[in-house]
């Protein structure tokens, strides 16, 4: 299952060395010992793992190529998954049987649903994740996926052939060339290189090439793409310093506790792996004018901030916050990095000052007076491909069977990457089998909104999902992602397991049955008031009211309703998810309103 291949001795002609016209490789001319896969995925990050697993689920013999197997599933920035909009994406990835939601249900250390009071359409499932556990669980999952091979290697070049005449595109990709010169043939290639394309790490005035702290960037591949004629842009992002846990004075800070009970990310899980009382808290502190001073006094030592490259507006470094919104106090969340980790992630403190100034700045902050900085914050600048060069299936217009997913398309965030990964993996596999592409529309899911925005509007800052981007927000809820996508994924893409399909079918029929049951139960409002005295049903006028209408009242849930009418409603409260979804569906149900 797990194979790390040695160095091949063959040297392939490479685009970076020769004129393109002279490079002609055909699948048939491949030497018999040359490895050949249906789908080759380059990159083992959040897009790459989802793409590789999705392609394998769809039945393709898949190879995942990564610089280092031990960094597969690494969370290189924040120790959390989900949130508002992002949680929606995770639910959709899960509905297509993707990995990240299930892994998060096994690796979280602080589960919390945001926006609880703002309506079910904008609930944001979120969790602090144990980095180590996530990586372990993800590697276990990936290494045990049937039809999926993992190999270490740096891809330097693509092998190109004549395009298929029935499709658009100037070339067709038919394999990759590794740094050691060996070649691997593939029917489809998915590129998920994250920040590695000409990645540069910036701390203070120092810049050095790296995809991630301690990892080599991909320069050859970036040059190949540029030579092929892809329009390339440059983006930047950053990450905060890490602080030693035992050096923080938590006792004077405000504590946030997780939800009880925890709501799992995945549709197939009823619970998460850890009890609420065993979960870890987060703490809140704030910046102060002294932090502003340090930032402003040292702008000349900070070349990341001076660069004109676009960074995200919504996840700004502390420098941009101080510059754009001066004289304000900014929040800093102190988040645990893991169950047994001795590190704290100060969310909101992304910074690229020279390391010693970072430490100085940290110690100005309340609760961090004696804090020890274990690793400095840094900025990353990297190449991305203008996403208007890819189709909604994530295949490039220019090179047939070449797919892009993740930060290479100008997005930011684990969840955005995972969402694209699933779609790219599915489509890479469908393409090999000559099946029509699997495209999600804006009306069907946040994944559709994400890909449609990217492929039609492009982006000039790292793109992140928000619920406000979705026109059909009221229908694209986290609770109903399975009914929107699981059946399509099962029938059209073949990426959904039988078990999940059956679970979604059961949920669908239970919901339909439950709604019609609720419609069939009808009492006078006075009787409802006696049955459910907690409700605000007006007993002034005596009107017939269906159970479905009663459920629309904010304070009424299935639990209360089933207590009032145990037969036949009791059975619908046995599954927490079903009871909650019935309540949501009732509220959404048009017709005689409760108010």
């Amino acid at each position: 299952m797990f194979c790390i291949r040695g160095c091949g001795r063959r040297v392939a002609a490479s685009l970076t060395k020769q004129h393109l016209a002279s490079v002609r490789f055909g699948g048939d001319s491949a030497a018999p010992w040359t490895p050949h896969f249906d789908v080759v995925v380059i990159g083992g990050g959040h897009a790459g793992t989802e793409a590789a697993a999705a392609a394998a689920r769809c039945g393709s013999r898949t190879l995942l190529l990564t610089h280092r197997v031990d960094t597969i599933g690494q969370m290189s920035c924040n120790p959390s998954f989900g949130g508002i909009g992002k949680g929606h994406l995770m639910r959709e990835v899960d509905a297509l049987d993707g990995l990240c939601s299930r892994i998060c249900d096994q690796s979280g250390i602080h589960y919390k649903v945001l926006n609880r009071r703002k309506g079910p359409a904008v609930w944001g499932l979120r969790a602090q994740i144990d980095r180590k556990l996530y990586k372990q669980n993800m590697q276990k999952e990936i290494l045990n996926t049937p039809r999926l091979t993992i190999q270490e290697g740096a891809v330097e070049d693509l092998i190109l052939t004549e395009p298929e005449p029935e499709h658009t595109g100037k070339y067709r990709v038919s394999g990759v060339v590794l740094a050691d010169g060996s070649t691997i043939y593939a029917e489809s290639v998915v590129l998920t290189t994250g920040t590695f394309l000409r990645g540069m790490i910036v701390i203070g005035l120092e810049m050095h090439p790296a995809g991630r702290l301690g990892d080599q960037p991909s320069i050859g591949l970036a040059q190949t793409l540029e030579k092929l004629g892809f329009v390339v842009g440059r983006l930047k992002t950053g990450t905060p310093p890490r602080i030693a846990k035992e050096s923080v004075n938590f006792s004077i800070l405000n504590k946030q506790t997780p939800d009880n009970p925890s709501i799992p990310f995945s549709f197939i899980n009823q619970t998460v792996w850890i009890k609420p009382e065993d979960q870890l808290p987060c703490y809140l502190t704030h910046t102060n004018p002294r932090v502003d001073e340090i930032v402003l006094e040292n702008l000349h030592l900070n070349c990341h901030v001076k660069e004109t490259t676009r960074g995200p507006r919504y996840c700004p470094s502390i420098e941009s916050k101080v510059l754009r919104f001066p004289n304000r106090v900014h929040q800093v969340w102190l988040e645990p990095e893991g169950m047994d980790s001795d590190l704290i992630y100060p969310q909101g403190l992304s910074v690229t000052l020279p390391a010693e100034l970072q430490e100085k700045m940290i110690t100005c902050i309340r609760g961090l007076e004696n804090a020890k900085m274990v690793q400095p914050g840094y900025g990353v600048q990297y190449d991305y491909m203008d996403p208007r060069q890819i189709s909604p299936s994530l295949e490039t217009h220019l090179v047939q069977r070449l797919f892009f997913a993740g930060q290479i398309n100008g997005t930011t965030g684990y969840e955005e990457a995972a969402a694209q990964g699933v779609i790219a993996g599915i489509n890479a596999s469908l393409r090999v089998r000559h099946k029509p592409p699997f495209v999600i529309s804006r009306t069907e899911g946040y994944i559709g909104v994400l890909i449609d925005d990217l492929t039609t509007l492009g982006t000039n800052e790292p793109y992140r999902m928000f619920t406000s981007r979705a026109e059909f927000r009221l229908s694209l809820r986290p609770d109903n992602a399975d009914s929107r996508l699981t059946f399509r994924g099962y029938k059209e893409a073949g990426c959904v397991s039988q078990q999940r399909y059956e679970r979604a079918s059961w949920m669908k029929s239970s919901l339909e049955e439950g709604i019609s049951m609720l419609k069939s139960i009808e009492f006078l409002s006075t009787k409802w008031k006696t049955l459910i005295p907690e409700s605000s049903i007006s007993s002034g006028k005596s009107l017939p009211l269906r159970a479905l209408d009663v459920l629309k009242y904010e304070e009424v849930d299935m639990e209360l309703l089933a207590r009032a009418v145990p037969e036949p409603l009791k059975k619908y409260t046995q599954c927490r998810e079903l009871a909650e979804r019935l309540k949501i569906e009732a509220t959404r149900n048009k017709g005689s309103s409760a108010r």
């Binding site: 009071r117 079910p120 904008v122 390339v232 405000n254 916050k321 406000s468």
Partner: protein, 523 residues
């Protein structure tokens, strides 16, 4: 070395696509057949002194050079005299004024040319054929120049409508209104409203997307001018408390903005159909008992024999309509059958139609015979039509009535007002024309009230405008009743959608721009 390369690369990345389209509409629907160069005769058909032929599109310059060879392009936006000749045969066509408008400073925003040729049909068709022979040029479809101007953001939808109205304006007041609309007054008003809504929506959206996930920063809200209670969040304490504070939704700023907008929209909707009346003409119905002289009045006002006039009662049996220009306002004048009972079935049908038309009238011209006020038909008409309209709600119902006593020439001389007990009325003689000036003055006043004075402010000239404003108002009503914040935001989105459909445009990117401008969102 890399730095230099990146600048080049990122410039290249921006190059072909910039400027980035700011609305979804802009990016998705680039106007039909854009890319081709279109040409058409832009002045009226037929023999005339000068005819204007226009082209628009990338090949405009090439077309101009082809027809004026060997001369080069004239200076931009300067009229120049050139000999036009057929590019295929070299045969001279006409000596004409040509104008060169390089885009984007042109009507359509594309490269445009104008040929002011002599207006003979042979010259016009010769130049059109010559243009048709230039590669890349094709005849324009109806409205295509304007459509391209809209697609390139040169005109908003209401401005396009204003332009169409200006072209079709027949009366003074119509022209004034169309010009004001073309100048973008209605569009500006709607855009102002839409901006208010976008801002309110941005605040609600920021609250949904960022208040808990990214701990939207409190101080920024002072700048954004919306104290939703984040001040408390800072002195206070932890995320659960933020939740409690959020209970005081909808955020007060958005709320008060919405209330203000509701009032403004209400005022404009109460304007009701004034702009539309001005555009398509007010319905003026001439009614009265038989033989009062209604048809004579219609003929007098329209200055042509629309209706047959005879001394015999019941001459007019159907409703006769004629569009007229009354004191600068457009009106649709209807002559109706005299109202009486107990006559033959044909006339009875005429009476039924007259009554139906009376119900729809914007203004009733009630005509009575000054010498026959005591007859049962006159009394009945006074009781059933004149008195109810006069006593009726003067403000709410916009149905207005002018009482005219005809045949004043038959009254005894020296008797200035023989009927002081009647509601206010005008004396007129259709025969001599006496009293006509007074009637026209009174009509002008009534029509000005009905159609609105275009010089006082933008009016809603089409039912489309009214429909969307009403839709917007209804959605704002939903906003106030919304059960949760997501539903409240949806109501605002619907409301904003209605406004942006008035002028075109309105994408989600605008909302995000406001959020990021006003709030320090960030982990």
């Amino acid at each position: 070395m890399w730095r230099g390369l990146w600048t080049l690369v990122s410039r290249a990345a921006r190059g072909p696509h910039s400027p980035r389209p700011c609305t979804r509409q802009g990016s998705r629907y680039p106007g039909p057949g854009s890319g081709a160069t279109i040409f058409a005769l832009s002045s009226g058909q037929g023999r005339c002194g000068i005819a204007v032929i226009r082209t628009s599109g990338p090949a405009s310059g090439h077309a101009l050079r082809s027809l004026t060879a060997p001369r080069d392009l004239p200076p931009a936006r300067k009229a120049c005299l050139r000999l036009l000749s057929d590019p295929r045969s070299g045969e001279p066509l006409d000596r004409a004024l040509v104008l060169w408008f390089p885009g984007p400073q042109s009507f359509t925003g594309e490269d445009c040319t104008e040929f002011h040729v002599h207006g003979g049909p042979a010259v016009v068709s010769g130049v059109l054929q010559a243009l048709g022979s230039v590669p890349g040029l094709r005849p324009a479809e109806a409205g295509e120049f304007t459509r391209r101007a809209f697609a390139h953001g040169k005109l908003s939808l209401t401005e396009v409508e204003g332009l169409a109205d200006l072209i079709h304006a027949e009366t003074e007041a119509q022209r004034r209104q169309a010009l004001r609309q073309l100048d973008g007054e209605l569009g500006d008003l709607c855009r102002g409203w839409a901006e208010t809504l976008t801002k309110a929506l941005a605040h609600v959206e920021a609250y949904i997307d960022f208040s808990e996930d990214d701990n939207l920063e409190e101080g920024v809200l002072d700048q954004g001018g919306s104290p939703w209670g984040w001040e408390v969040e800072i002195s206070g304490i932890q995320r659960p408390q933020v939740l409690l504070l959020s209970l005081s939704f909808p955020p007060s700023t958005a709320d008060s903005e919405v209330r203000k907008l509701e009032v403004a929209l209400g005022v404009h909707l109460r304007d009701a159909r004034r702009g539309q009346r001005l555009r398509s003409g007010a319905h003026v119905v001439v009614a009265g008992p038989p033989n009062a002289g209604k048809s004579s009045l219609v003929n007098l006002l329209s200055r042509k024999p629309v209706s047959i006039v005879s001394p015999e009662p019941g001459t007019t049996r159907d409703v006769l309509e004629t569009p007229v220009d009354l004191a600068g306002f457009p009106a649709l004048l209807s002559d109706t059958a005299g109202l009486r009972e107990g006559v033959g079935p044909v006339e009875q049908e005429g009476v039924r139609r007259a009554q139906k038309r009376l119900e729809q009238a914007d203004l009733i011209l009630a005509v009575l015979d000054a010498t026959d006020l005591a007859s049962p038909a006159s009394c009945n008409f006074l009781d059933t039509v004149v008195i109810p309209a006069g006593a009726g709600n003067p403000s709410g119902n916009s149905q207005r009535l002018l009482l005219v006593l005809n045949k004043s020439d038959l009254l005894p001389a020296g008797c200035s007002d023989p009927h002081p007990d009647l509601p206010s009325h005008l004396l007129l003689s259709c025969l001599t024309g006496e009293g006509l000036d007074g009637l026209l003055e009174a009509l002008k006043k009534e029509l000005a009230a009905l159609c609105g004075d275009p010089s006082t402010g933008p009016l809603l000239t089409r039912s489309r405008h009214q429909h969307h404003l009403q839709g917007c108002l209804d959605a704002l009503g939903q906003y106030k009743q919304a059960r949760d914040l997501a539903l409240a935001a949806e109501a605002l989105r619907v409301a904003r959608g209605h406004l942006s459909r008035l002028t075109g445009g309105g994408g989600t990117e605008e909302i995000l721009d406001i959020i990021f401008r006003d709030f320090c969102v960030g982990k």
